[in-house]
């Protein structure tokens, strides 16, 4: 949603790297949403939930954010190198890991 807006307003030209941009947007969003949902469910039953949620999410979401930045950087540059592939793999692994962890622990988080 925001991404096309940025491309138009800042006159960016994703030269041949459109696939990378879409991939990084999808995988990055998936990772952030997974981690955010899990920790939001944890933080909702604590005192000072607004304060503690960013504290919990921030260190954990740094890997996927850095990877998304790196991959979209490569997307705008239009160069797909070996390190881009390893960043993509990192995002895939992160998403898979946290989807599994979230599925396995979510019932413990939400049960009374």
């Amino acid at each position: 949603m925001i991404l096309p807006l940025f491309v138009i307003l800042l006159q960016l030209e994703p030269a041949g790297g459109a696939l990378l941009l879409v991939l990084s947007a999808f995988l990055g969003t998936l990772g952030l949403v997974t981690v955010g949902t899990l920790f939001a469910a944890m933080a909702v039953n604590t005192r000072g939930r607004e304060a503690i949620l960013p504290l919990l999410v921030m260190p954990v979401s740094i890997p996927v954010m850095v990877a998304a930045v790196k991959v979209s950087e490569a997307g705008f540059a239009g160069t797909w190198t070996a390190s881009t592939t390893s960043w993509l793999l990192l995002m895939v692994g992160y998403d898979a890991l946290f989807l599994l962890v979230a599925l396995a622990t979510f019932q413990h988080v939400t049960e009374e």
Partner: protein, 221 residues
């Protein structure tokens, strides 16, 4: 109020049964061993070991720095195992083990983060650099700090009624810690060896921190 919230997770020793075992001669034995081995360690590190050819006296901080990192990794591994065991069995003792181990780990990783810059200043020329290994270590420290804070913030009645909630956080935040070394490896400049480097980072951290400063000091100074 605040101390109440903090005391509960600290209580690794359960009143029933456990105190009788821990308070006896066994505990005194560990204390005596520590008292004897600490001066021996200091003497070996400061007097017996020869001075490093390249780094001089600054290298001696490794005898504190690297073992602290090992103990930190070990403690976090115990948190991971304890949290999963708690989720599987529901026994409160596992949760206590995980919580107390997290505190041990944070203490020792703090020691690593304090001694590291002290060594980095004379050898690299800077106290801190946003290098993958340092950054991921800082993240590791932050994650377990937030884990301890989270446990302090869970209200007392909820924790009594269903202590599962706080440990659910423990299990997931422990899995997160597994991503930390993974990131450190993947962010290194050699993408092909990154995966292998990530998996064996814990084991060979001492050796790589030997190789690392040599290449680093040539670029920095």
């Amino acid at each position: 109020m605040k101390t109440d919230a903090l005391q509960q997770p600290v209580g690794g020793l359960r009143p029933e049964g456990a105190t009788g075992v821990e308070r006896g001669p066994r505990r005194r034995l560990w204390g005596t061993l520590t008292l004897v081995s600490m001066p021996v360690l200091l003497a070996m590190a400061l007097v017996y070991a020869p001075e490093d050819a390249n780094q001089g006296a600054a290298q001696r901080i490794f005898y504190i720095h690297v073992p602290s990192a090992w103990i930190g990794f070990l403690a976090f591994a115990v948190v991971f195992v304890g949290s999963i065991a708690f989720l599987a069995t529901g026994k409160r003792r596992w949760d206590d083990i995980a919580a107390s181990s997290a505190e041990i780990g944070v203490i020792f990783t703090t020691a690593v983060l304090v001694t590291g810059p002290l060594w980095g200043r004379p050898v690299w020329g800077v106290y801190w650099t946003w290098d993958p290994r340092l950054t991921s270590f800082l993240m590791l420290w932050l994650i377990y700090l937030s884990y301890i804070v989270l446990r302090g913030y869970v209200p007392e009645p909820i924790r009594r009624r269903s202590s599962r909630r706080c440990s659910a956080s423990s299990a997931s935040s422990t899995c997160r810690s597994c991503t930390c070394p993974l990131v450190g490896g993947a962010r290194s400049t050699r993408p092909s060896s990154s995966w292998r480097a990530a998996t064996c980072r814990c084991r060979c951290s001492s050796r790589s921190s030997w190789a690392w400063p040599r290449s680093r000091s040539s670029t920095c100074t």
